[in-house]
Structure formats: structure tokens, C-alpha cells
């Protein structure tokens, strides 16, 4: 078990933490996620793409009342990866894990 370089970037870490705090299967819309994280469209979009490519999050696009809607959720792989990374961080603080 080691640090997850994909998750450990600041905004990606917050994205994963936010999605992990929602009930399993819950999706959050892009504008709400952006407001919660106080991120810009471009910055958030880039990091979401990185996490999606890694298989950690799922991005669902559809239309509601003819308006495009983008929703994001954590995948089971992403949840396990996040929990593993958090466990690594805690072990690092407790002195049980190597630093790199």
C-alpha cells in the first residue's frame, strides 16, 4: 500500500473526499460540485477527466428540460482507492508507513 499519486493532488483529493461523503450511488451535479469546492469550470473539468480516466469516478451526461446536465459519482474502484490512500496518510502520521 502506498500513496496514490492520482488522488493526492489537492483539488482531486477534495473531489474524491466530497464524492466519498455522499451516500453510495449518489450523484452530484457539476455546478454544485464546483460551488462546494470553489473551483473554476476549467480546473474542475480537467481534474474530473483525470479521475475518470483512472476509473475512480463516473461522469454521466444527459438532458433535463432540454438543458445539458453533467453528474459525477464515485466508482467502487475509486472508493477503494480513496480509502486506501486515506489509510496510507493515517499510517504515515502514526509512523507506520514509509514516506515514499
Amino acid at each position: 500500500m502506498g500513496a496514490d499519486e492520482i488522488i493526492h493532488q489537492s483539488l482531486r483529493l477534495k473531489i474524491m473526499a466530497t464524492l466519498n461523503a455522499l451516500p453510495r450511488g449518489d450523484k452530484i451535479e457539476f455546478p454544485r460540485l464546483k460551488a462546494l469546492l470553489k473551483a473554476t469550470d476549467g480546473n474542475l473539468g480537467a481534474h474530473i477527466a483525470t479521475l475518470e480516466t483512472a476509473g475512480y469516478i463516473a461522469v454521466e451526461k444527459d438532458f433535463v428540460d432540454r438543458k445539458p446536465r453533467t453528474r459525477v459519482s464515485l466508482t467502487p474502484i475509486g472508493r477503494r482507492a480513496f480509502e486506501s490512500h486515506v489509510a496510507y496518510l493515517r499510517d504515515l502520521i502514526d509512523g507506520a508507513a514509509p514516506k515514499g
Binding site: T18, A21, R24, L89, L92, I93
Partner: protein
């Protein structure tokens, strides 16, 4: 990659902060529609009481309709994959709110109250303080709404006179509706 203990501590702090905001958002979005429902009930019933007091059925019908609407709203909310424990918790939430209504009604039976103004104000104060307590645990917006409801109710009780029902309908009912809309805009 190399992470120091300080970086790990900072990262865990960021995780906790993000999770806290997510939990706050989750509470707000689930409570918002119920605040709007009961704000509408207050508004309609109070206006009816003010301008058609002879009718007398506004509040029983309003509370019944509000309760039914709340139950329907509860069932219609999106259901992610929840555990049996989480599903049981939502039944407990609903039952808790219903019990508060019954509690205040029972209070009105044993504590001498001269009329609708006292009973109505008691409901306003009880729910205001409940929102305040909920806000202490979930987020400042609920606490702010609770404080507003308490203050508006006390102003109505002491300062508004014969226009009490109109005031409570427009101001306190309106505050609940606006509060619900505000909670949705995070």
C-alpha cells in the same frame, strides 16, 4: 511520490473539510423542500385566518395537507443505494418531526393559552429552536434560519397586534419558503 507527515496531516484536514461541506450540502438539499412545504402551509393558513376567520378549518386542513405532502416528498426524494440502517434512519427522521407536532399540540392542552396567537407562536418558537439545534450539528444556514424564525415569532407575538396572522403568514411563512430556496442554492 514522497509525502511528509505534515503534508499527510494537511491532506487529512482537507479531506475532513471537504467531507464536512458535502454533509452540510446533503442536509440542506434534503431539508429544503420540507421548509418550502411548511412555509406555504403557514402562509395559506395564516392568510385564511386573517381574512376568513369564520371558516375555522384552515389549520386542520393545512396541517393535514402539509403532513401528507411531506410524506409524499419523502418518498419521492432520490434513493441512492442505502443500507437498511440508513433507510431506518429516514423513517426515524419523519417520525421525529411528526412527534414534535404532536408534542406541541399536547403542550397546548396542558398549558393555559388564551388563543390561536399563543399556540401559533409556540409552534414558531419550537421549530425555530429545533432548526437552531439542527444547525449546530449540520451547518450555519439552518442555525440562521432557526434564529430568524424565533426572532420573527417573538416580534409577531409582542408587536403586531390585530394583524398577527397576516404578519406570521407573510413574514414567518415567507421566511421558511425563502429559507428553503436559500438552502438549495449552495
Amino acid at each position: 511520490m514522497s509525502i511528509t507527515r505534515d503534508e499527510a496531516t494537511q491532506a487529512l484536514g482537507e479531506i475532513d473539510a471537504a467531507a464536512g461541506r458535502a454533509a452540510e450540502f446533503k442536509t440542506y438539499t434534503r431539508m429544503a423542500p420540507f421548509l418550502i412545504i411548511w412555509g406555504l402551509v403557514w402562509m395559506v393558513c395564516d392568510l385564511s385566518t386573517q381574512f376568513a376567520p369564520q371558516w375555522g378549518l384552515a389549520w386542520p386542513i393545512g396541517v393535514g395537507a402539509g403532513t401528507l405532502a411531506s410524506i409524499v416528498m419523502g418518498f419521492s426524494l432520490p434513493k441512492p443505494d442505502t443500507t437498511p440502517e440508513q433507510r431506518a434512519r429516514s423513517w426515524r427522521h419523519m417520525a421525529s418531526w411528526l412527534l414534535v407536532i404532536v408534542f406541541v399540540f399536547c403542550l397546548s392542552l396542558v398549558i393555559p393559552m388564551s388563543g390561536l396567537k399563543e399556540i401559533h407562536s409556540l409552534f414558531g418558537l419550537v421549530f425555530g429552536f429545533i432548526y437552531l439545534v439542527v444547525g449546530i450539528w449540520t451547518g450555519w444556514r439552518m442555525a440562521a434560519l432557526g434564529i430568524a424564525l424565533v426572532v420573527l415569532t417573538l416580534i409577531g407575538f409582542y408587536a403586531v397586534g390585530q394583524w398577527y396572522s397576516l404578519y406570521m403568514g407573510l413574514v414567518s411563512g415567507g421566511a421558511l419558503i425563502l429559507g428553503g430556496l436559500w438552502l438549495r442554492r449552495i
